[in-house]
Subunit: 454 residues, 4 copies
């Protein structure tokens, strides 16, 4: 443990943490420098040997983070001391090559392109986990199209709903996030390359050529312009991950509510040591949901920072750009930690259909009051029907009777509806509308999004 | 002035304010109710006469906002009292029809679809103004591709840049916002229709048919599922407007900095009464920029609210949904007020190219120090070149001399570079790289986005 | 309904809405102008007759909001057109007096002092409602010191807790908010008076005299300096109300969770029309809690705006100050709407102690597992005790038996603890520690805060 | 460099980073455990030898962060695995003592009390740096009470102002922050001690005694109640640091604007390597101001998270509490980094009074237009005076003449005011009102706050 480390509570995957580690940040900038040198050599602007020497030194593990950090504080960004250190290293290898390090670029070119490279890695990791969560949700939907539970609005029982349709809601949101992530790739996965003020002045007339070649080296796009102080590209990544985290937070909210002792319809996977308490032997805490909800609670404030930092000054900002540096990575890490936990929770989700049924029954049939009311409306008038059923509900609850039993004793009802029909109306499993078709629609929609993705 | 009004400081356009007025909110819900009745009549679910009677009463101006407001507080949302009042009104016209009001829907169906209709209006208004701002920026770019001013980074002079390239940056961001707005239309412009828990139970097996017909009536899409507690669609609208506002804030930041007395390179339009002071006769305040910056400062916090409200409970949320109600409209109003002001500022923007040139000159040539340094590097070595020019810059500034003059007296320089060449190196207008091509690229990119929009 | 009104969903009290209406904003500025004239007349700087004429015209109801609004957009703030209109009105009454309108002040002096006057009104209204909520909570605590329910952590049953102690938590937080509100009064209830740049230059050497007199007229403090661009005073008000709203949100979260059908331990007051549904006859929605939670969800984003707007430029800001104008009032309105709803919910709160007891029983005694485990620890060792009780809990739940019954059949237990003692250990009412003393402490602490307030 | 480190861009002081390192977090919890054992031993609840054994093992450096981190992810918080590891360690030393580890407490007791201990350290560090910044500002005020520069509103010249009065504004805000920090200590520096649900059930009737003793051990207060889900205490710390950061951001905004090339009135300290550029030899970037502004831009979003997380569930929250864990430390670190940079910037601030005077002169006297206008008003009428001076300003600026010279040629003026008097009116140094007295007031107010602090 170093004195200053702050990773005790990070819960992103090791891969994602690596993607946004100090080393990855340095490597991102170094990849830019190597690719720039290669591009310039390919175009005859610098010697091929110089490009080779530069590229050979562009390995993050050879640099001292603490030294770069000290330099970053003094100079205002991490690229300046890194380039100085790189130049030193190149000099040792090939003094001639040293003067071509960072040729034609500005420090923000390296920093932003490095960030884009980190984001590309992150988007790849997200894609894999999104795919996995999607598969787990599809399985849940398939399995539980007819597993009824109480649908709840305002935290009160409303009508029956199959668990599969709840899961279809999660999948549907996931599909739209994947769609947006695909849409933004073209805007985001581009190089930053403009030189000090975006004109590429130090490359004379050849700036765009170099830019195109640089982009090809890095397998990124070449945007119309440098975007040093137009930050919508990176903020959009944050916002889209915010939509992801919001959807995962919704999923976790639901599961944690279903996992309440008094509801007990769904549970996080039970693993040894998971969710226990230091003193209470009986506890099974929904720790995955808590982690997801915490991430979903933290991202919005970080997004506010990113949006608020957009109005940056002239050709390079003062404070706004700097405010992004740790904020966007934090959004990525939190969103991924939420996604990782969601995969665990959904893949290991344990449902109790018996308890779902029991909870439905405990409502004494009032969750289908609407069905009875609608059936009676054409027979006795809508208002009379509503009042009649409202009274019957109250009685059923007060006397702990089934709504069916109460209604079966009302001549106003039995004179108009047969007992068999009444029983049908009071059967929750018959009052689920087009729930199954909706599940099918959601599956089809998701499939169409992921297909077009490929 | 009503006692409770709070519109003194609203600066959105009258059209946008109308789009998010209380009346428009009511009309949105009523449009849903009318379309629902028509759809159900078309499918034979309710009498055609009933649909006609209902539609005839769906006029917002016939309802009392204060009464609906009181009811909304009691019942928890505005649709419940509105539907009650509508039912009353329909009863007076055709008692039979009354029982078909709101048939098969839930209050959130009306509220959310109403919101989508308001958003469609808003998106249309945005489109018009974005088009207009785009035109004004294109004109600026065309006119000022060669109008040089000091490019500034960290609020310090860096290199020369044509004003047209600054404007191209604004246009480029605008283009991406238009692209995103186009992408989100399919996701956002859809009906909300699910009944109490999203199953459309009260319509039996015909829910999807009704949904499809309803969507057609309103010229909206039919989504895979109801999205009562999956809020990414509406949050995405907010986020995209946040990207717009961020870009406009950047534009306003720049203009207000250029308008400083000590810089005096660009000014907001001067109109009688605009930007004056109550006591200071000399003041010309950049009030348009201030309004844009204020809007850009207010939207991020509102977006944090929208993102944070996403994890909504089960089939209908408790608190989160309600938190959206005034927040998203506020985002729309603020973004539009920023856009409206940006159109005014850019269309009436007054530039002072003479002052730009003078400010460039006042840097004594140090803004092209990089050019000289790069030219000397191959001749004397990079490090020696850098030191030589650094020293010359310091001397030029200390003695208030031109960098050229200082360099022209250095044998190390003049022995290697002719005076004519040196003069060329010190000419800011020759050190702008590919600025003009970049302007062309930005114009082409924007044209391609707007073309594909049509 | 005016076309542009947006008050349909405001739920603050009429008094609070009046305090932040357009009219109140104008009146705040006019009160400043009247007091300034009186102060200057008292010091012989302007004629007494002029002060009288000015004061006579300082009635908000005589001004046209829409005209002031148009002027505000053009000039950048509402004070400029208001002062112009006031000057016109004074001219009509006494042409000589007109030239003393706003003498020595700047528009921000009027706007900020007006805001402080509005805040003073608001703080008074808060005080009354806080007092009322405090009384209602004290009654709940007194009544329910021994009313046990399941204490829940991570939404899972933990140990028994008296409802009175939960309520004591709400009261405790309320007390600290009242303490903070008292502490900030001296900082916040001060005039803003500095002239254009804070030097009071146009009053020569007499600025501070005028300031002192002005402050006395308005019964406000005179701060050390003008605070045109030092905004901590007003942001602090927002932050403190944010703490209030957070605490009320916690209260509403709890109540809405207790009101779940499956828990059914506490309910919002049931009033005709309150919390019903448009289609579901059985619904009792916790609409008060939803309103509180929505307010608590909206305030944090608004606070982010206020904090982010603090770094304002030089002697008067550009964008940041303007971002406050509608934001702080919104915080006040939302916080008050939460408080108003909390008073209603708590005053009319309906508890079901029988159900609380039943829910405790339904845990089969596992909520006191810790008690048994602790009692066994010295007898069999801590680890053995923990394992023994853990196993018994699992068995009790699996077989739906009382933990006591399971334990009573274990020789390892009965050989060491008498059945009577075991029964005592399994009695939730005996496992509440110092809950009653804590209630007393909380009541005493709150009393001491409110006493010192008086 | 470890693979996952993320400290490259942290700029808080080493002391503050240590205060919020993983190690400090562990040590905070361990200090709680040690003190708890001691308190219980002192009260005869556990053996003295057990307390000694426990205390002996409570050294953070003996625990493996990565192991605790893995356990934290599984169990939901860091205290559970830490206590398990501690118990193991104590067992090795004294098996009997092991069963008294964490006796009577819950994991949140350890975590929150540990946090309070970290906050106490942090508040101490803040105090030292606030004192130092205060001293530097006092020196600036003393030195520059009469150093005039252009006062600027809306980024436009308004009236002259002494630099000392600007600095007095920074000091005044600082004083109020120190006052608030003092006020909150009593609320914040308290133990968290409640056991699983706040009743201290496992300590029978002795919970409060233990609490009092524990508090004494740690030199913290004992609050009325446990505050597991009443989070105002810690959020208040964040909010107060947000006010600090906002004020520092304002200071940095000012300095960076004054440091613009075109203004050039104030500069950050120039140190070798500080604020340079990788390619532009002439650059002196205000890197300290950028760091302060970035911190001030990041804190508001973090505060939104803290406020939004307040409505936590029942006796222990699900997601909200967890959202605080890294957020509040981040606020502390950012606020301190801003403060540290502000100390550097202010202590080394370099002013250019000559340039200030020159900039004042370059306004051609229009910054004192108000003075002339006010002097003429009684002689020719206010409106005529305003028009006359407005015209003269326009002419002065258009023709690049001194306002005095323009006025001196107007018979309307010279017939009423002597040239000597006119010259006086046009002298900026005579138009600064009570600026010096205000400086004195601010110094006195600050002194009174810091005195009462002692």
């Amino acid at each position: 443990m170093t004195e200053n480390s702050r990773t005790l509570l990070d819960q992103a995957s090791p891969e994602m943490r690596a993607a946004f580690s100090d080393r990855a940040r340095l490597q991102g900038m170094l990849d830019f420098e190597a690719a720039l040198a290669k591009a310039e050599a390919a175009l005859g602007l610098i010697p091929t040997t110089a490009a080779a020497a530069i590229a050979a030194e562009c390995r993050a593990e050879d640099f001292y983070v603490t030294r770069i950090a000290r330099g970053a504080e003094l100079s205002g960004n991490a690229a300046i001391p890194l380039i100085a250190a790189l130049t030193e290293a190149v000099t040792a290898r090939d003094p001639e090559a040293a003067r071509f390090v960072h040729f034609g670029a500005t420090s923000q070119d390296a920093i932003d392109t490095g960030l884009v490279l980190q984001l590309r890695t992150a988007l790849g990791l997200f894609e894999v986990e999104l795919e996995r969560l999607g598969r787990a949700l599809i399985a849940l939907i398939d399995q539980h199209r007819q597993t009824l539970l109480v649908g709840r609005t305002w935290l009160q029982p409303a009508l029956p709903i199959p668990f599969g349709l709840k899961a279809a809601g999660y999948l549907s949101a996931l599909g739209r996030v994947r769609q947006r992530l695909r849409e933004l790739r073209g805007r985001v996965l581009v190089v930053q390359f403009g030189g000090a003020v975006g004109t590429l002045a130090s490359l004379g007339t050849r700036g765009l050529e170099v830019g195109a070649r640089l982009a090809r080296e890095l397998e990124l796009g070449l945007p119309d312009l440098a975007w040093h102080t137009q930050r919508d590209r990176v903020v959009e990544v944050g916002a889209t991950l915010g939509l992801l985290a919001g959807g995962l937070g919704k999923l976790a909210r639901d599961i944690s509510l279903l996992a309440q002792w008094e509801v007990a319809e769904a549970f996080e996977p039970r693993l040894p040591g998971r969710g226990g308490s230091s003193t209470l032997p009986q506890k099974q805490n929904p720790v995955g949901c808590a982690a997801i909800l915490a991430a979903a609670a933290r991202i919005p404030g970080l997004l506010a920072t990113l949006f608020a930092a957009m109005p940056q000054e002239h050709e390079r900002g003062l404070g706004g750009w700097q405010a992004e540096w740790d904020t966007l990575p934090e959004v990525c890490l939190l969103a991924e930690s939420a996604l990782k936990h969601a995969v665990q929770v959904i893949e290991g989700l344990s449902l109790d259909p018996g308890r779902m049924q029991a909870n439905l029954s405990r409502t004494r049939g009032v969750v289908v009051a609407e069905a009875v009311s609608l059936a009676l409306a054409p027979l006795v008038g809508r208002s009379a029907a509503h009042q009649l059923v409202e009274g019957a509900c109250a009685k059923a609850l007060a006397q702990d009777q089934e709504l069916f039993a109460v209604l079966a004793e009302l001549p106003d009802v039995t004179s108009r509806i047969s007992l068999a029909e009444l029983q049908g109306l009071c059967d929750p499993s018959r009052y689920v509308g087009v729930a199954e078709e909706l599940c099918t629609r959601a599956l089809a929609e998701y499939a169409s999004i992921t297909r077009s993705q490929a």
